[in-house]
Amino acid sequence: MATEILMPALSPTMEEGTLAKWLVKEGDTVNSGDILAEIETDKATMEFEAVDEGIVGKILIQEGSEGVKVNTPIAILVEEGESVEEAVASAPAAGGEAPAAEAPAEPAPTVAAAAAPAAPEVDESPDYPEGTEVVSQTVREALRDAMAEEMRGNEDVFVMGEEVAEYEGAYKITQGLLDEFGAKRVIDTPITEHGFAGIATGAAFGGLRPIVEFMTFNFAMQAIDHIINSAAKTLYMSGGQMGAPMVFRGPNGAAARVGAQHSQDYAAWYMQIPGLKVAMPYSAADAKGLLKSAIRDPNPVIFLENEILYGKSFDVPKLDDYTVPFGKAKIWRKGDDVTIVSFGIGMTYALQAADKLAEEGINAEVIDLRTLRPMDLPTVIKSVMKTNRLVTVEEGWPQGSVGSYIASEVMQQAFDYLDAPVITCTGKDVPMPYAANLEKHALITTEEVIEAVKQVTYR
């Protein structure tokens, strides 16, 4: 039976090409793998090999022809004893089967910002029942307890990282874990972030629940390929067959006087990635409740801690199994005049500013996002509908910040409620300097938050 040889697509972008040269002529016998012709694509001249064997019955497109569309029949291959005429008559419609590319047009994204949207539904239930006994704990202790509780509950949970076992953590977050769980589950790694992030991701594919501690998130940049390309994307790329249920955790953001390479807030970076969840707690109770949720989560979670917060004490509910759900912001302070949204260490400045503003008669509503992906925007929108003013606070850089995302969402969803432009308070747009005075200026300050609130409230 005769076969049509079609103009091939020889690159991902090729739609047509030049048939530069035939290397066979009519009557030649060809075998699989023989070069039939040279074809110029948009990128290079390629040799075009035969797939089937047979005799070149007829050349349909002469050499030198330009602009030959992909899938155009360029020659006919016949079998021994078959004439070209009958071949042409019987040539199967091997070509022509262009892919069904006309996917139905996707509905255009709905243009948001219809005037006066209804106030969004918001879950305002308390994190734990009123009257629950609380204990004062540091963020450090809360994180350790969260890991210990989850490791007691699930044999598949283990923690690995630099100095997590015998040294008990560079910041003492894993204190006591080696003693309780042993070296099989509390694993010291060599200093090799790319490698152990990949091994942990593979272990998660294999059914375990790894907690990867990065000594700081600055070092996770060596591992970011595995976090994003391996951990975050595999569930999607496998059509739901397998993913990476795991936690990448460690201190994030500026500590004190450690300079540019050790002082960086990655909140906005990781928040952008579909497939990742991102938590950035402020209080000890949230650190504990969110880390327990993160360890149980079936997805890869980025858990951004802060060295300066590690030693701060907060009330933590004395409950056997205290968890905080992802995607639920916490309103720390109710107010009517302005909404201040922050997360992580930014809450320190937000709350200090709110206290001082209250003395001046400005009542700020202060919202702690707690998780950045999923992000509880409804709580923010609802608050803005009440206060009509918004200031966001974070330590990261201004361009592409968490605040700029919130500002764009608020503009689209609640434009008519805004009485002033949103101000996004961020760290300065510079690498972190070492000098004490410069470092102080590079970071966001309480005074800047107060100033921003006064601007949006026109005071």
């Binding site: 079609l6 020889l10 797939v51 593979g202 272990a203 390929d225 059509g239 992802f326 995607g327």
Partner: protein, 337 residues
């Protein structure tokens, strides 16, 4: 630990030889068909064919047991067919259709099968190496004696994460077989142009990892070496490296004109060392099979491949809702979903 010359043992059964012949031929014909469909525009993007390297995966799969795992790079079609994944499901993934292993969302380079313990299909050169060690870590943690085959090329062998992984795999005695498929070209750069230490398997010595070089055009040699490697891992002795010397006949990907080597070099390899021809020869000279027997196999394989191509063309494109599924294992709101 010395490199061994491949031994052509004659104590191999007709059934075994026929099985290897069939499996290698399936990969070859499948890849030829994939090349054809690519030419027709039915397969898009990057498409890396395995033609010439068939003996590597077929030989190593012969050394594997049920429950063993495998992970590889983006030149992955052969690995999937060799571990028993369905040709139709693989081809339909290449055409980006609903019937593909990843529902059309992964493509040629990103495919997986939990059922067959195939963990991808990874598009970042070298990334599969620590992932493979991690899979082995999970088996050791669970206390079973499964082994993970971690395949990578001579190009990936220069990635830093490979050596980070060697170090930890040996430190923790992980049951992982590192298979370096040395096809001599990392895209267009030959091994000679990328390293002055071309015995890639010997790099494991720096970490105390045992290994050897293997004739990757000889399926029996690959299988024997695979058995040594697997025995080492199952005995709890840690990782093992196999540097399998092989050759790809086609370009790096479909859009590679392959000007970095001569046509003669490729032709010579095809004529003198072809892995399928070698087994064919053994079957015929050993009187294990007749020309007619082999013709019947050829036809059977052609049918499987044609059916897979038909399925890959007929399977519908994924529903638009699929855009929004499988991002999270639980339902969390997506922007604009």
């Amino acid at each position: 630990m010395a490199a061994r010359k491949s031994a052509q043992k004659s104590n191999v059964s007709a059934e075994e030889l026929t099985k290897y012949y069939r499996e290698m031929l399936l990969i070859r014909r499948f890849e030829e068909k994939a090349g054809q469909l690519y030419g027709m525009g039915l397969i898009g993007g990057f498409c890396h064919l395995y033609i010439g390297q068939e003996a590597v995966v077929v030989g190593l799969e012969a050394a594997a047991e049920e429950g063993d795992k495998r992970v590889t790079s983006y030149r992955d079609h052969g690995h999937m067919l060799a571990c028993g994944m369905d040709a139709g499901g693989v081809m339909a993934e290449l055409t980006g259709r609903e019937g593909g292993y990843s529902k059309g969302k992964g493509g040629s380079m990103h495919m997986f099968s939990k059922e067959k313990h195939f963990y991808g299909g990874h598009g970042i050169v070298g990334a599969q190496v620590p992932l493979g060690a991690g899979l082995a870590f999970s088996d050791k943690y669970k206390g079973n004696d499964r082994v993970t085959f971690t395949y990578f090329g001579d190009g990936a062998a220069n990635q830093g994460q490979v050596y980070e992984t060697y170090n930890m795999a040996q430190l923790w005695d992980l049951p992982v077989v590192f298979v370096i498929e040395n096809n001599q070209y990392a895209m267009g750069t030959s091994v000679q142009r990328s390293t002055k230490s071309p015995a890639l398997w010997k790099r494991g010595e720096a970490y105390g990892i045992a290994g050897e070089e293997v004739d990757g055009m000889n399926v029996l040699a690959v299988k024997e070496a695979g058995e040594r490697a697997v025995a080492h891992c199952r005995a709890g002795k840690g990782p093992y490296i196999l540097e399998v010397k092989t050759y790809r006949y086609r370009g790096h990907s479909m859009s590679d004109p392959a000007k970095y080597r001569t046509r003669e070099e490729v032709q010579k390899m095809r004529e003198e060392r072809d892995p399928i021809e070698q087994v064919r020869e053994m079957l015929l000279t050993g009187k294990h099979a007749t020309e007619e027997d082999l013709k019947a196999i050829d036809k059977e394989i052609k049918d499987i491949v044609n059916k897979s191509a038909d399925f890959a063309k007929e399977s519908p494109e994924p529903a638009l809702e699929e855009l929004w599924t499988d991002i999270y294992a639980d339902d969390i709101p997506q922007k604009s979903a």
